[in-house]
Amino acid sequence: MRFKSIASGFTRFGWGLLPASCLLLSVGLGGCGDNQSGLSEPAPVGGPALMRRLTESQYRATINDVFGPGISIPARFERGLRVEGLLAIGTSESGMSAFSVEQYDAAALSIADTVLGAEHRDRFLNCATASEGAFDAQCTTQFVQQYGMQLWRRPLTDPEVSSLVNAAHQGFIQLGDYYEGLKYALVGLLVAPDFLLRIERTQAPPEGSGPGQLDAFSRAARLSFFLTNASPDKELLRAAAAGELDTPEGLASQVDRLIASSRFTRAVRAFFEDMLQFDLFADLAKDPVIYPAFNSTLAADAQEQTLRTITDLLIEQNGDYRDLFTTRNAHLTRALGIAYRVPVPTRKGWEVSEFSADSNRAGIQTHIAFLALHSHPGRSSPSLRGKAIREVFLCQEVPPPPPEVNFSVVQDPSDANLPTARDRLELHRTEPSCAGCHRIMDPPGLALENFDGLGTFRTVENGAAIDASGSLDGIDFTNTNGLAQALHDHRETPRCLVEKMYRFAVGRDTVWDERPYMDYLTETFAVHSYSVPQLMRAIALSKNFFAIAPPTGETSHNLAGLSPANGATR
């Protein structure tokens, strides 16, 4: 059952010949360079083979794909680890506590109960001969092989199959019921490291030189998690086994198939949920006296609103990524309408409209999901918002506050002489130890001061008119619409998206030698009018996406800055 190592179109050439060979190959092939833009990919650099934990959404999506919708998964998943700004990178570093394994185990038992319970089992078991009172070895083997392949993302070895069949037989002996016993074979599949961890495997480079590469099933998994946020489907596994992913045509046909599938939306959502740090909603609290409109429904709807805006613009309309910062598309529920002060006639569900031109709601950075998340429980925070704009959308890192910072210069926020945040922050920008960072964070954040700590529009704070003028890297503006345009036009905006998308795809930080590759992707993104699906396609078809570099020993990551609440950011 082992697939054959088939030298792929690109790795057969030496590094020095790559650009030329790319030009030759690019005629009619999507796999090398970009045939529409005429750009060619630099020599691949790659990274180490990784061991990545499934995220909660990947776990759920995979169970949904393998067993169909309606399988409840009553587990409480441990929260993800955010490294270098992304949970996706944390999946390559986080361990697995006893609590997690306990939860995975409970989920596995529950899934097995549903799948092999009397109501559903006929859908999953294709054995006319099976019955409660007798152990059916053939049926069991078939079940283990079929679902093992889908869950472990590769064919199982004979000893693996027999170990699981053994578990089912043991179960039958002890419990006296074939189906009850079979459940434990499924539990074994679902609790195994081969399911919970994506353990990437490599094969030697053809002709023993150049970067190594992932084996076919590891390639299939990278592709599938990147483009569908779940394990490979049967067709992708078939293609992997047949060696089709090793040819540019075979790869392109699978990539295009996945991007065209309805599951692609899931991947785009997963990326933006990660990039926008929606996991932090788990800890978000608002004071109920100050913000009575805030509750768990509003928090959920706010995230969904932003995600709908994103997938609508980027996938349905195949729009320009930069327009996310200026769009006035409004996907609203009634709960959101209260916070936005916009009437929403629909009682239940979603309504699509447009925020009015004078509403100051241009771009996802004016959505409640952004404004409320980057605020304090009882007030807004220009610094937290400014920091998030820098780090989330522009990939500009704001250093943590110095530990011995002198806060005696900061005045009481209840001081009547300093009614607005701008007045109070002025002191931060004049004190030398604070000024360095606050000059970076505050100006874009101050442009959002027309929104309170929840995100509702306001024109005054403590009786004083709010001045929402600000600037972003040399572009001055007078209000939030100006910030929207500045973000849209910022040269780092597309590059930052490219970098985050690539890191998300490969589960690690980029390395210095990948700069030319990032340039290539950024140019490709521009050539395709900043289409995110096209960018994802270019990544999935690129050599660098699959390339494996020998370990360098320099793999330590800086885990600082996990939470915006840490440190003394105002």
């Binding site: 944390g90 570093e93 053939q138 578990a167 074979a185 609790v191 490291p193 800890d283 609290a285 009481d412």
Partner: protein, 442 residues
């Protein structure tokens, strides 16, 4: 398919009997002193826990003017007066940075717990609660239980960097985890081992058999992570093995009722309610040997506690509230610091309310309480307030000890020694120490 590995089968059938059972805590089995089991002479196990509150203290309201036994409790410690004899106060012990950047609220907390200061959350060693859990937690259902009472999913208990043992934040979820599916009432008359547990256990055991093969396929860093996974699998296996044994009867144990589903909110009154509920459940779990190790995070190190209707959190106030010119300290911050000590008192109340042997559960628990910094305004890691409570006559308490800028790892080292760990030296660089706090040891 009729050839099965003999080993797997035997283990599935026999392992349940081979694993040690929890020690019974039935008082009628105790000797006349109530300190040890009459038949075996074995002592009631000493449990271990940590209790963490964020953002330090107001020194003049917390540090007693004198050391030794006859100190006067300052205002913020006043609620703890009933526990004076069961409490050791430590002031003036420092986390030594050795030039490491002080990541505010993190370096101090993790430095105290691991003996190694780090500039981020990349903890360098298991935290001391994990070291202790590995030594004493084997016979209980859970190796440790973590809870966080201010609605925030944080934990400062780490086996390896990048994977804290996550905290339960909801009392109801905590209840269900301990007393829901899989819980065996220790006093129920009828016990019939469910064969399902045996089958389940052998499945996990087969997964464990794969350890060596997988370890060979990954790099050194990932090996640590895989190792943690297999350790977790092994713990789950032991948990199932316990299900196959009749639980040891526990005198006076009454199954707790499921708590109401409360709002998870960081407002102080609400947090005190959640904390009390969780402390009560934890005490019950300790009583019937569901766990022997716990970690309570009352408030996060960047404390998100609030007073209802006010715009700032405890943490923001530490940086932004001006000192009250007449009081000489921050008035609002002081309120949070005082409430935190009130909560600590309530935690001890829950442990002390359960009779055990000739004393209470508190006498058979050693609890290390600490914050992440001393003066939060400056993120100072010098003189982090620390306390040890309980321990009965197995540790010495009832005094205030000033550390004179000694490394705080001395406390971590001594706590491990008091729990019976064979450790002579702990911590790194300036924090490395072999100097036990002899005042604490019997």
């Amino acid at each position: 398919m009729n050839t099965f590995p003999r080993r797997t089968f035997l283990r599935g059938a026999l392992r349940g009997a081979a694993v040690g059972v929890a020690l019974p805590l039935l008082n009628c089995f105790l000797d006349s002193n109530g300190k040890a089991y009459a038949a075996t002479g074995q002592r009631i196990p000493l449990r271990f826990g940590t209790w963490v509150w964020g953002c330090g203290f107001i020194p003049e309201k917390w540090i007693p003017a004198t050391t030794g036994r006859d100190y006067v409790m300052p205002e913020h410690l006043a609620p703890l007066e009933p526990y004076r004899d069961q409490l050791a106060l430590f002031s003036g012990f420092d986390v030594k940075l050795d030039g490491v950047a002080n990541k505010p609220h993190i370096t101090g907390c993790l430095g105290l717990r691991s003996g190694i200061p780090v500039p981020d959350e990349n903890v360098k060693a298991p935290t001391l609660d994990v070291l202790i859990g590995d030594a004493i937690g084997n016979g209980s259902r859970f190796r440790s239980i973590e809870v966080s009472t201010s609605g925030i999913q944080r934990s400062y208990s780490y086996r390896t960097a990048g994977s804290p043992n996550p905290s339960e934040i909801s009392p109801l979820a905590l209840y269900q985890r301990i007393f829901g599916e899989g819980f065996q009432d220790p006093n129920s008359i009828a016990f019939k081992p469910d064969p399902k547990y045996m089958v389940h256990q052998s499945v996990l055991s087969a997964i464990g058999d794969d350890r060596q093969r997988l370890m060979r396929t990954v790099g050194a860093e990932d090996r640590h992570r895989l190792d943690e996974y297999f350790t977790s699998i092994r713990q789950l296996e032991q948990q199932l093995a316990l299900q196959l044994q009749p639980p040891a009867p526990v005198e006076g144990f009454v199954m707790p009722a499921a708590p109401a589903d409360v709002a998870l909110d960081s407002e102080m009154d609400n947090v005190l309610v959640i904390h009390r509920l969780m402390a009560g459940l934890l005490a019950k779990a300790l009583q019937c040997n569901q766990t022997r190790v716990f970690n309570v995070l009352f408030s996060d190190t960047t404390s998100n506690l609030r007073r209802r209707g006010t715009i700032d959190t405890h943490h923001t106030l530490t940086h932004e509230e001006p000192e009250d010119p007449t009081l000489g300290y921050q008035r609002e911050v002081a309120w949070f610091a005082q409430q935190s000590m009130q909560a600590w008192r309530e935690f001890l109340d829950e442990l002390a309310s359960i009779p055990e042997g000739d004393g209470t559960l508190l006498d058979n628990c050693m609890v290390l309480a600490h914050s992440d910094c001393s003066i939060a305004k400056a993120h100072a890691v010098e003189g982090i307030p620390t306390m040890v409570a309980g321990g009965g006559n197995r540790i010495r308490t009832g005094y205030h000890l000033a550390g004179s800028a000694d490394p705080i790892s001395r406390i971590g080292l001594t706590v491990q020694q008091a729990m019976g760990l064979q450790v002579e030296r702990w911590g790194s660089l300036s924090m490395e120490t072999n100097k036990s706090i002899t005042e604490l040891l019997v």
